[in-house]
Symmetry: C2
Subunit: 148 residues, 2 copies
Amino acid sequence: MTAPLDASDRRLIEALQDDSRQSLTDLAARIHLGLSATRARLLALEERGVLTGYRTEVDPAALGYTLRAVVRMKVHGALYDKVKSVLDRTPQIVRCLRVTGESCYVLEVVAVDMNDLSAITSELARVGSVTTDLVYETLVDRPVPPRL
Amino acid sequence: MTAPLDASDRRLIEALQDDSRQSLTDLAARIHLGLSATRARLLALEERGVLTGYRTEVDPAALGYTLRAVVRMKVHGALYDKVKSVLDRTPQIVRCLRVTGESCYVLEVVAVDMNDLSAITSELARVGSVTTDLVYETLVDRPVPPRL
DNA sequence: TAGTCTGCCGCAGAATATGCGGCCTAGGTG
DNA sequence: CACCTAGGCCGCATATTCTGCGGCAGACTA
């Protein structure tokens, strides 16, 4: 937060969210700046921690994951280490948020079939009480919008 | 799904999930294949729809979003178009899943402050009954693991 | 054995990125 | 007002990377 983002920064971020693998040259064209200026801004945004990494979107179905589920989990505070341990050794847990309200944790899980899902939720049920909802479809999956 | 993924494909996917902006040359070194073979596999994975895009991770705090929330929403079926309309015009909704169970939709929202959050949830409340949980922290945010 | 297919390597030319010097402008100072 | 400085941009020369081939080796078939 050392300096506010200007319009060029925002355009750059949007361009990268759209396709993070495009060349610096293309990015430069897209934000109407020269190559050097574009690179300087990119490096600065990384340096300042605004850009934290570049990832690939994968189609889970192509990897054999036919199921996705949202799991809510209620845990007695003392078991936090156990929660952490399950999270660490279960790569099918792709997301876990600690939240206010009834359920202490909201997780998102991918699974190859019902057996797989059952195994994961059973493991989770050992550290808390669990509610599982299957995902029919993903309506929205957007990057954080760079407005301010 | 025309062909199963072999070990090199999986390594390539992992490498790209780790840093999608690295050069083909680096990727090739990492998966122990030549440049051309690496490129051919990358193009094939894109072609087959396994790799669906390349995105940038952004720190929401750096963009001024101090709050994140999980919102569950229960809707009467007939309002589906209205739901879609809200999703389309609210960029702060970064994720929306349609699920089984009590709540028809689970959404994830970013907001700059409580007023902002309030405005978004109010909008959502016009199409269904809404439960909002604030996010304390994100414990896990992983790519889908390329095992099968 | 010969034919064909698949997947890999390596190469040469084209495209991109890197590192630096220099220019311009805004803001501060005597 | 003239001068100075700092920040941000451009453009260039060199280094690195990508692209589009051709060719080779192993597996499978007839």
